[in-house]
């Protein structure tokens, strides 16, 4: 595995982190290099979002049963809207920072903070959830790591991974884009082979329809399934992160994003349909009571839901024997890459929020030797470790398990992590849709090389703008998922809002101490910043177009003629 050190530029167009001198010669403030190619941009996103199905499949099958494919379809439609929104925003404002930056720009400081704080929750959960499932997949080959039979081993290795990833990020190393590309390519090839053989030789449409009819869940379980299905589509922040380092992002991002969105959607839909309508290559073992069970029941139970893709792959005719050996390894690597993006991403967002006067300046403190944001890295990896302990402790101690069963209706550790993941994602995505609508109306002069389809022309403050219908549909969908999460997830409905309230308290204390407006925003020159963003991105034609738009707008406002 090759590693590289990288620098990260701020959403506010200033350099954030510096690379150790011995790595970049004598450049004390190294700017982020735009070296990511279209495939690099695709694989960057894929290595993050592509890992989600390894986590989501078993959880959704366990909740939505025979309606799992419909749950994935509902969440998938919302995800397509989210993907299109991120593509438009990342191509228009190609800076790192993602949802937090878009919301800050569109809705102001306080909402930018709330969205960023929700994203931070997601990143910390990403770390704990993905290390947890990484060990689950490893347990397919090493049974001593099973979360059911050997919970301490499982917990200890997951905790070790979190500490190790944090240490690597403090030193300032990260997996290379080439490595991401290799793993992504291998995974796409592997998943295409599994699905092709599965659909050609084992899929039975009659069985699919029969399973849907006899195993349709209750309304509550269906809603829970939908809210868990969104877990399979979280990680689109990576699109905007990739935008920061991609050559000509306004042109490349839309092209690669559409392929990424469709690929992830198809894999999720295909796995869920296959799990409901596939004749297995080997006999499925009976359940704990000795009753025969269907494939989806076996994949969705507490023992197997953390490694469902590997078990499904092993049931594919002909290819299954080989898949049983390498899919757990491939899944583990993808999940670890995704967990690493959580460690890296949380520190980056916290640093950016700190620089943007949304969080205390201590989160912007960098290590004197490695020049990485050590406080943010340790703080948010520490939170991830706490979340892991909270999720694992019922399996480690029977007394605590009894308390959990009483208080949380027996939700498992994996459920707890998935609950919070769904809550954080639904909250931040809801704000992103509103921010997109606000930016369309109040920043119509920024050139948009990619726009979400189906728009209504409107005039706002004398400027022509377009109202995005798809953003409204997406908002309704993601808000419904947020409500489903609050209604059906016992821990999520307490811990999620509690996290937001904690953040808002920190925000108010910090802003009050520094005489910053509590509810209003700090004044910023967005036009000047946009010119800088486009210049740094190498999008000089768009920069010229933007400047021309501003001049034309100023002339219109002054009542003069424009030539």
């Amino acid at each position: 595995m090759s590693w590289r050190s990288i620098t990260i530029a701020s959403p506010y167009t200033e350099t954030l982190f510096e690379v150790p001198e011995n790595r970049v010669g004598h450049d004390k403030k190294a700017e982020l290099r735009r070296t990511v190619t279209p495939w690099g941009s695709f694989s960057w996103g894929y290595s993050d979002v592509g890992a989600d199905i390894f986590v989501g499949l078993g959880l959704v099958l366990g909740a939505a049963a025979g309606a799992s494919n419909v749950a994935f379809l509902f969440a998938g439609i919302v995800y397509v809207c989210i993907g299109l929104a991120y593509t438009e925003l990342a191509a228009t404002y190609p800076v790192a920072g993602g949802g937090q930056y878009f919301v800050l720009r569109g809705l102001g400081d306080i909402f930018g903070f709330i969205a960023g704080w929700a994203v931070l929750l997601d990143f910390t959960i990403d770390i704990s959830l993905f290390t947890w499932t990484c060990v689950d997949y490893m347990s397919s080959l090493a049974p001593a790591l099973s979360s059911v039979n050997h919970p301490f081993n499982h917990f200890a290795l997951a905790a070790l991974f979190i500490v190790g990833l944090c240490a690597l990020n403090v030193i300032g190393v990260r997996e290379s884009t080439a490595f991401n590309g290799f793993v992504s390519g291998l995974d796409i090839l592997s998943e295409t082979a599994i699905l092709t053989l599965g659909f050609l030789f084992a899929f039975d449409p009659h069985l699919l329809v029969h399973t849907m009819q006899v195993s349709w869940p209750t309304s509550d379980m269906f809603m829970k399934g939908i809210s868990l299905a969104i877990v399979s589509f979280v990680g689109l922040e990576s699109i905007s992160q990739a935008a920061q380092e991609t050559q000509r992002p306004a042109s490349v991002i839309p092209r690669t994003s559409v392929a990424l969105i469709l690929t992830i959607l198809i894999f999720a839909l295909a796995y869920s349909n296959l799990a409901l309508g596939m004749h297995t290559w080997h006999a499925i073992p009976p359940d704990a009571h000795g009753h025969p069970q269907m494939l989806w029941q076996w994949l969705g139970n507490d023992q197997n839901n953390g490694r469902a893709v590997a078990l499904l792959a092993a049931q594919v005719p002909y290819f299954g024997a080989l898949a049983a050996l390498y899919v757990p390894i491939l899944g583990s690597i993808l999940l670890l890459i995704s967990a690493n993006s959580g460690v890296f991403g949380s520190s980056r967002i916290a640093y950016a929020m700190s620089k943007g006067t949304l969080l205390p300046s201590t989160f912007a403190r960098v290590h004197p030797k490695f020049r990485t944001p050590v406080v943010s890295l340790v703080a948010f990896s520490g939170i991830a470790l706490l979340e892991l302990i909270f999720a694992a402790i019922p399996s480690l101690d029977h007394g605590v398990a009894a308390i959990y069963a009483h208080l949380f209706n027996g939700e498992s550790g994996l459920d707890f992590l998935a609950d919070l993941y769904a809550f954080g994602a639904a909250t931040s995505y809801s704000f992103v849709f509103i921010a997109l609508i606000a930016l369309r109306l109040y920043d119509p002069l920024s050139p948009r090389k990619f726009k979400m389809p189906f728009n209504i022309p409107v005039t706002v403050r004398g400027e022509r703008a377009e109202f995005p219908i798809v953003a409204v549909i997406g908002f309704i969908g993601i808000f419904a998922i947020l409500l489903f999460t609050l209604k059906t997830h016992i821990i999520g409905r307490i811990a999620g809002p509690a996290w937001l309230i904690l953040g808002i308290i920190i925000y108010f204390i910090y802003r009050a101490r520094h005489d910053l407006p509590l509810f209003k925003s700090k004044p910023r020159d967005w036009r000047k910043e946009q010119v800088e963003i486009l210049r740094n991105a190498g999008e000089l034609e768009l920069m010229d177009e933007y400047i021309a738009n501003i001049k034309a707008s100023n002339a219109r406002q002054a009542g003069g003629s424009v030539t």
Partner: protein, 64 residues
């Protein structure tokens, strides 16, 4: 590499069409909807990828 990508994209179109045909073979009712949509998405992605490959290939040819 480009041949592998073309094969993968073509495979998606073929599998997508096969799923649509097999699902429609069960008659028209709501339960076939997720399967038909999956097939449709596979065909759409396959065609999107083939179009991308063609565009990139044409650009390379022009550059040569």
């Amino acid at each position: 590499m480009i041949i592998l990508r073309i094969v993968l994209a073509s495979l998606l179109v073929v599998i997508g069409c096969s799923i649509i045909v097999r699902m429609l073979g069960l008659g028209i009712h709501p339960d076939i909807f997720p399967g038909v949509l999956l097939g449709g998405a596979m065909v759409a992605l396959g065609i999107h990828r083939i179009a991308l490959i063609r565009r990139v290939y044409a650009q390379r040819k022009m550059a040569q």
